[in-house]
């Protein structure tokens, strides 16, 4: 029950969002090639605004859609040019550096097969690898491990049944044994969750609202007057808790990397980061989204640093359940959409490029006249990584891993 500053004795109950496999053997075929590949999957829960993360600055309709919120190469906070058409959010200097080293790439206009707008169902489709939402209990990454022939699994110390429930993201749940780790720091409830709860209390329980509001103000000590205004996009106001979020992302990613780097450690891991549902005051340039992308950027750096030599055999895949509306909404945010980005980083990649089949941003080109149209099936990207990095076979990828995906060809040339 978790649960935040705390004493060492409290570590026991602070279970994080990470999970790794107790998997000490490299995939057989990769081993035969003298490789020892690592894969870390990071799920961004809440639907990342791909256009706010990687802006199509070369598209003539871009500024019209986003207005003041549009990232620009010559804006007050200039975006980082990836090629002649796309530019990266300036909150991500580490990813940019990796991109320049050909160790990162962006896939744009991608989506899972899911076309509705429920976060829960969207995440289920993303993590299960099954094209429709519904009752699923296993994730594609776990099934991938089961499918790979290994020279026998060893269960390292630390893999034990946890007291309350599972902590494992769905993407790694299944028959292959899972080991979880305990971050030292408790991720506090996000500013977004606090804001939603405050709104709920204001409509249902004024007393609780007063107390929660006081707490939020206290947490923002040093914040400016008016900081509790959710519409505020004042760049000098860093939302309370973002420092803690940054620390948490970095620690979770660093821990995962240290496990994956060990000669006898697991080779595959996954974790989830929450907070991407930016309906109000998205702040792609200097606010909420920029802060979160900055925290994610720190996680990339933490993985790279803690992987050491193993970084050269690593792929980090960052994926989200769907994108957000192309247009900015009435509260300077974006609502649930479809097409978005996936980030890939790691020394094993053939990076330094944006993979996209750009659909355009004119009203007729948008999906349902509201979202970036998905032109790349995210499963093609994931299948490409599983095939070229971990050496899974097409036949298995099209059946056991991503059922009914025979017509979705694995993307080639991502790795190696």
């Amino acid at each position: 029950m978790s649960f935040a500053n705390h004493l060492p004795t409290r570590r026991e109950m602070l279970i994080g969002s990470g999970a790794l496999f107790a998997w000490t053997q490299m995939p057989k075929i990769a081993r035969a090639e003298g490789r020892d590949p690592r894969l870390l999957v990071i799920i961004l829960r809440g639907a990342l605004d791909g256009l706010g993360a990687v802006a199509p600055v070369g598209d003539p309709d871009w500024v019209g859609l986003r207005g003041e919120s549009a990232l620009l190469l010559d804006g007050k906070t200039p975006a980082l040019p990836l090629d002649s058409f796309f530019a990266l959010n300036p909150a991500m200097p580490n990813l940019y550096r990796l991109y320049k080293k050909q160790q990162a790439l962006v896939v744009h206009g991608t989506a899972t097969p899911y076309r509705e707008r429920s976060h829960f169902d969207g995440q289920d489709v993303l993590e299960s690898g099954i094209s429709k939402p519904g009752a699923v209990s296993t994730g594609w990454l776990n099934r991938a491990l089961v499918a790979m022939e290994s020279g026998g699994r060893v269960d390292p110390a630390g893999s034990r049944v946890l007291g309350v429930g599972a902590v494992t993201p769905l993407v790694v749940r299944g028959a292959a044994p899972v080991m979880s780790w305990v971050p030292q720091k408790l991720l506090p409830a996000s500013a977004d969750t606090q804001g939603r709860l405050l709104d709920l209390y204001q409509h249902t329980d004024p007393k609780l609202a007063v107390v929660l509001q006081a707490r939020m103000r206290l947490a923002a000590l040093g914040g400016l007057p008016g900081m509790s205004d959710p519409m505020s996009e004042d760049p000098t106001f860093a939302p309370p808790g973002i420092a803690r979020v940054r620390a948490y992302f970095a620690e979770a990613a660093a821990t995962a990397a240290r496990y994956l780097a060990r000669p006898d450690g697991p080779r595959v891991g996954a974790m989830g980061f929450v907070g991407w549902d930016t309906h109000i005051a998205e702040g792609a340039i200097t606010g909420q989204l920029a802060n979160l992308l900055g925290a994610l950027d720190g996680a990339f750096a933490a993985v790279e640093t803690n992987m050491g030599e193993a970084w050269n055999e690593t792929v980090v895949a960052v994926v989200t359940e769907f994108g957000r509306t192309a247009r900015i909404n009435g509260t300077n945010g974006t609502d649930h959409g479809t097409g978005t980005v996936a980030f890939l980083a790691g020394g094993a990649l053939r990076g330094g490029r944006v993979v996209a089949d750009w659909p355009g941003l004119k009203p007729g080109q948008l999906f349902e006249d509201r979202d970036l149209k998905p032109t790349i099936d995210l499963r093609a990207v994931l299948k490409g990584i599983l095939k070229d990095h971990l050496r899974l076979e097409d036949r298995v990828l099209a059946s056991a891993i991503f059922p009914d995906s025979a017509d979705v060809k694995p993307m080639t040339g991502l790795v190696g």
């Binding site: 029950m1 809440g46 995440q123 409830a189 249902t204």
Partner: protein
């Protein structure tokens, strides 16, 4: 099923029970009041506690470990000192540095002693955790949890602290509260005041009368703590007319109530005993009545009268109503419960029945803020989980300011909203953390429909529908007023 029957079932689970579990609303909806009363007729014993040591055994185990630790430390200290002296001697012969052998030997000895002592583990903590697990899982597995809530209530009313006596904290509740929480108040009162854990906690073990055999030649003497708290907190209540003289007389009555020293008696060490050498001889007048019984019977007689005192009926009835119904309960309800207490000679099951039979108990709005322990258990229950890691659960309770069996004073934990409402922010972090782990197996919509019985405000439903993840949805649900108030 009518909506009012369903509403009563939900209220029964939140207000009187441990919170709804999957299917529990449907199970009691036909007769929520009847279901509450039926639960009081089931025994309160815990099958899961069978392997746990008695309080006396736990106390002896810890005492033994302490003795071993002391012996080991002493032995290591002497050995290290000898070695240091020998080394220093060698160094002198070889014409090395000037010896500081005394100081060095002392330091080496202290370090060795600490190391040796640390090598003997403290058995108190694991016992505490096992007891915690059994207690919390009983709450998680109860159909409604009304009886368990009463155990918790009485355990808090007659609290002790694990900070003083960790080894016995769980066994105390099992041995004194559990068998009597639905019996007669007088039996409960005697069980707790004679329990070694209470005697230890309220400093009665060495309390001696000035004219007792032990007291005649000692500078130490009477300790008033147990007598005062029995009057002020356990029975009559504060400012009900007893005087300082009554406290002193009652303290004298209680001299000699102690425990068997564990070192002397491997079989009965840690059990209650009446030690006549500590007992103040002669009669004592308490609240205007002379008590001239012999030995332990003198104290029992005082406790019987305190249990039968009208002020006790009012004090207990008010506290129960404050805990279950409202911070300021309706006077008519308190009077009904107090009258039941008096009319049935303190039959606690009848008092509990009177409470759930009163219209007030069902018509008042849900203004009570659940205490952290209730809220934590309700959260876990809603997910259908029935087993916990006690380390984690108790740490969570501690973070929320209600560490299990460790209240800040003999008054126990407070019950009013003002005492707990400022912890809401911290609850959010815990809810968030638990939600993260529970989201793998618990679906928020499923909890709304099948656990909360869809009796949830449209605002909460909407917040859950719009949440960015199952985790966030669960956190908002657990934090909602519907879930926190009862």
């Amino acid at each position: 099923m009518s909506s009012s029957a369903k509403g009563d079932a939900v209220l029964a689970l939140h207000r009187f029970g441990m919170g709804p579990r999957p299917g529990s609303i449907a199970a009691i909806a036909s007769d929520p009041r009847g279901a509450l009363i039926a639960e009081l007729d089931r025994p309160l014993t815990l099958a899961a506690a069978e392997g746990l040591p008695s309080s006396a055994k736990a106390y002896r185990t810890v005492a033994d470990a302490n003795a071993r630790r002391t012996a080991k430390a002493k032995q290591a200290q002497q050995q290290a000192k000898k070695q240091q002296v020998a080394t220093a001697g060698t160094a002198m012969v070889e014409g090395a540095s000037e010896p500081q052998s005394d100081k060095q030997a002392q330091d080496a000895g202290d370090m060795a002693a600490k190391k040796a002592a640390d090598a003997v583990p403290d058995p108190g903590r694991p016992i505490y955790l096992q007891e915690a697990k059994v207690r919390i899982e009983a709450a998680l597995n109860a159909e409604i949890g009304f009886a368990e809530r009463l155990v918790w209530f009485w355990s808090n009313h007659f609290c002790i602290s694990a900070n003083r006596i960790q080894s016995m904290s769980g066994a105390y509740e099992r041995e004194s509260i559990r068998p009597n929480a639905l019996g007669l108040f007088v039996d409960l009162l005697q069980a707790v005041e004679m329990h070694p854990a209470m005697l230890f906690y309220l400093d009665n073990l060495a309390s001696m009368g000035a004219n007792s055999i032990a007291g005649i030649n000692r500078s130490r003497g009477l300790n008033e703590n147990l007598a005062r708290e029995t009057l002020e907190l356990h029975t009559l209540g504060v400012r009900t007319g007893y005087t300082q003289d009554d406290v002193i007389s009652f303290s004298n009555v209680l001299t000699g109530w102690t425990l068997v020293p564990p070192g002397d008696n491997p079989e009965h060490g840690g059990e209650f005993t009446f030690n006549p050498r500590l007992h103040e001889p002669g009669g004592q007048t308490v609240l205007g009545k002379l008590y001239d019984q012999e030995g332990v019977e003198q104290g029992r007689a005082v406790l019987r009268d305190l249990a039968a005192h009208p002020a006790t009926a009012t004090h207990v009835a008010n506290k129960l109503a404050c805990h279950f119904i409202a911070d300021t309960p309706p006077p008519a309800l308190v009077e009904l419960m107090a009258r039941t207490f008096r009319d049935t000679e303190g039959n606690l099951k009848e008092v509990a029945k009177a409470m759930v039979s009163s219209e007030d108990s069902w018509s008042l709005p849900a203004t009570k803020l659940k205490r952290p322990s209730e809220w934590g258990v309700a959260m876990v229950r809603s997910t259908g989980i029935t087993q916990i890691d006690p380390t984690r659960f108790t740490a969570g309770q501690e973070l929320l300011g209600e560490p299990l069996w460790r209240p800040p004073s003999p008054k126990g934990y407070p019950d009013d909203e003002a005492s707990w409402i400022d912890g809401i922010g911290r609850r959010l972090d815990i809810a968030n953390n638990f939600a993260e782990r529970a989201a793998a197996t618990a679906d928020p919509h499923d909890i709304i429909e099948n656990v909360m019985g869809s009796s949830i405000s449209p605002e909460v439903r909407q917040a859950v529908d719009r949440a960015e993840s199952r985790q966030q949805a669960l956190a908002l649900l657990f934090m909602s007023a519907d879930f926190q108030r009862r």
